[in-house]
């Protein structure tokens, strides 16, 4: 089904590409939003991803790998977006909080803020591995295919990203979180 649509789209069929893009849209948005932590930026990145996909679709040799290829384009677009942002004034990401914030929520929000800050200190490559692992739920070999890296590199990026976040949060003094305390990272006993 998907391969047939991809082959039609490769021949310039816009309707076939629309069907592919529509099917993938929410997934692309959700992933990019979590990597970038910004809904508007995610929309821009998804649009850029779809433009690149349409433009370069004829170069996709294996139509059955369309989904992985599309996600790779998305990660690249996220990288490009972040690179572009470095040349602009710092933008403070906005937390998604609907309605008034209850007092007993403050501690939890503080932790979320720490998570957000530590996460945004990571490179897009490391964020992508975390999101694809812990949000999408993909196994390392599939992430490796999407990112074009060996599975071992996926594991090492995952390990580094978790350790870096914990170091960052520990350094900032955040010890809250579900009634537990953040332990100091121990590089000798990684995952």
């Amino acid at each position: 089904m998907t391969s047939g649509l991809v082959e039609r789209a490769q021949r310039g069929d816009h309707e076939a590409f629309d069907a592919l893009a529509t099917a993938a849209y929410h997934r692309l948005y959700a992933v990019s939003r979590r990597i970038l932590r910004d809904g508007y930026a995610a929309e821009d990145v998804v649009q850029e991803t779809l433009i690149r996909a349409w433009r370069d679709l004829r170069g996709l040799r294996e139509p059955e790998r369309f989904d992985a290829w599309l996600q790779r384009l998305l990660i690249r677009a996220c990288q490009d977006h972040v690179r572009g942002q470095r040349r602009r004034p710092l933008q403070v990401p906005v937390l998604d909080v609907d309605g008034p914030v209850a007092i007993d929520e403050i501690a939890r929000l503080a932790d979320r803020d720490e998570l957000e800050r530590a996460f945004l200190e990571l490179s897009v490559e490391h964020r992508a591995v975390l999101v694809l692992t812990h949000y999408v739920g993909l196994p390392a070999p599939e992430i490796a295919e999407i990112l074009g890296i060996p599975p071992g590199t996926v594991y090492s990026r995952l390990h580094y990203a978790i350790r870096a976040m914990r170091v960052s949060m520990t350094r900032s003094g955040s010890t809250r979180g579900a009634g537990t305390r953040m332990a100091s990272p121990d590089p000798e006993h990684g995952r």
């Binding site: 893009a21 929410h26 998804v46 649009q47 433009i51 679709l57 170069g59 996709l60 290829w69």
Partner: protein, 288 residues
């Protein structure tokens, strides 16, 4: 807190927030794709493994002038001469005019015969096709069993890791000698290190190396979806089509120029087809 607890906290946090984008943003993105042209794919036409550089007007004029000069020279040489010391006064018998070797056409099936491709000529049997007046292929050169033969006269950039070529260019200037080009190619990241052997083609000496795409390569996952070994100084790229594809290169010193003959095939290429490719190769005449 152990890592599992942190993983859970992280996963919970990542699940927060919307997981569906706005429909109007999708509509805007789709509208943007309608204003975007598709790039020609490397499967369409069948074997565009190298970008063609349009010939500019000056080059066309220069080629036309060269052709006129060549015709004039040929004309002078084939005019029957008579007389001279000890020469016969008999009417000379007609001398057959040398037939210029035709350049490969831009595309299409080739009639069996001899063709020119850049700095060389070679004879092709039936069943072969031309690609961009530059190379000859059989079965479109594509996997699982296609073949291709083509010249490279100005390789300027070799990529240390052809899968991650964007960040690994080795040189941006033409390689001046056979040895410098061979040295760059044999150190590329591949399954096995290519071992150069001595080669002599039509009297010109050089090295032959067999480069192959690593078996576990996912071409679509490489930079830009391309596994790219090198680029020539006019911007032509050699990007491979599939894992295990071979580039059997003969790198020659031709009057101080480093010229390369590239034979492309796959493990599934039949012995009979390989023999055809070898026969074409054996017929090569270097005409720089």
């Amino acid at each position: 807190m152990n890592d599992d607890v942190f993983d859970h906290i992280l996963a919970d946090w990542l699940r927060e927030g919307p997981d569906r984008g706005r429909v109007e943003a999708l509509d805007r993105a789709l509208a943007a794709t309608r204003r975007t042209a598709q790039r020609p794919g490397w499967r369409l036409p069948s074997w565009p493994a190298r970008r063609s550089t349009p010939m500019n007007t000056y080059a066309k004029v220069a080629m036309a002038a060269a052709a006129l000069v060549a015709i004039a020279v040929i004309g002078i040489n084939v005019i029957p001469r008579s007389g001279g010391v000890g020469g016969s006064l008999a009417t000379p018998s007609p001398t057959p005019s040398p037939t210029p070797v035709p350049t490969l056409p831009s595309a299409g099936a080739l009639a069996p015969g001899t063709y020119r491709s850049d700095f060389m000529t070679y004879a092709v049997p039936a069943g072969w096709s031309s690609y961009q007046s530059w190379g000859a292929n059989k079965n479109d050169g594509n996997p699982p069993s296609g073949m291709f033969i083509a010249p490279w006269s100005n390789i300027g950039t070799v990529y240390a890791d052809p899968c991650h070529w964007e960040s690994t260019p080795v040189s941006t200037t033409a390689f001046p000698t056979v040895d410098t080009l061979v040295a760059a190619l044999v150190t590329q990241k591949r399954d096995a290190t290519a071992t150069p052997v001595d080669a002599t083609i039509d009297g010109f000496q050089g090295k032959e190396i067999d480069l192959s795409v690593p078996s576990n390569t996912i071409v679509s996952a490489c930079d830009g979806g391309q596994y790219k070994g090198w680029t020539d100084t006019s911007g032509g790229d050699r990007y491979n089509q599939a894992p295990d594809q071979h580039d059997l290169l003969d790198i020659l010193d031709v009057n101080g120029r480093t010229l390369v003959i590239d034979r492309v095939f796959y493990p599934a290429t039949t012995a009979a087809d390989r023999a055809e490719l070898q026969a074409i190769f054996d017929s090569i005449k270097i005409t720089p």
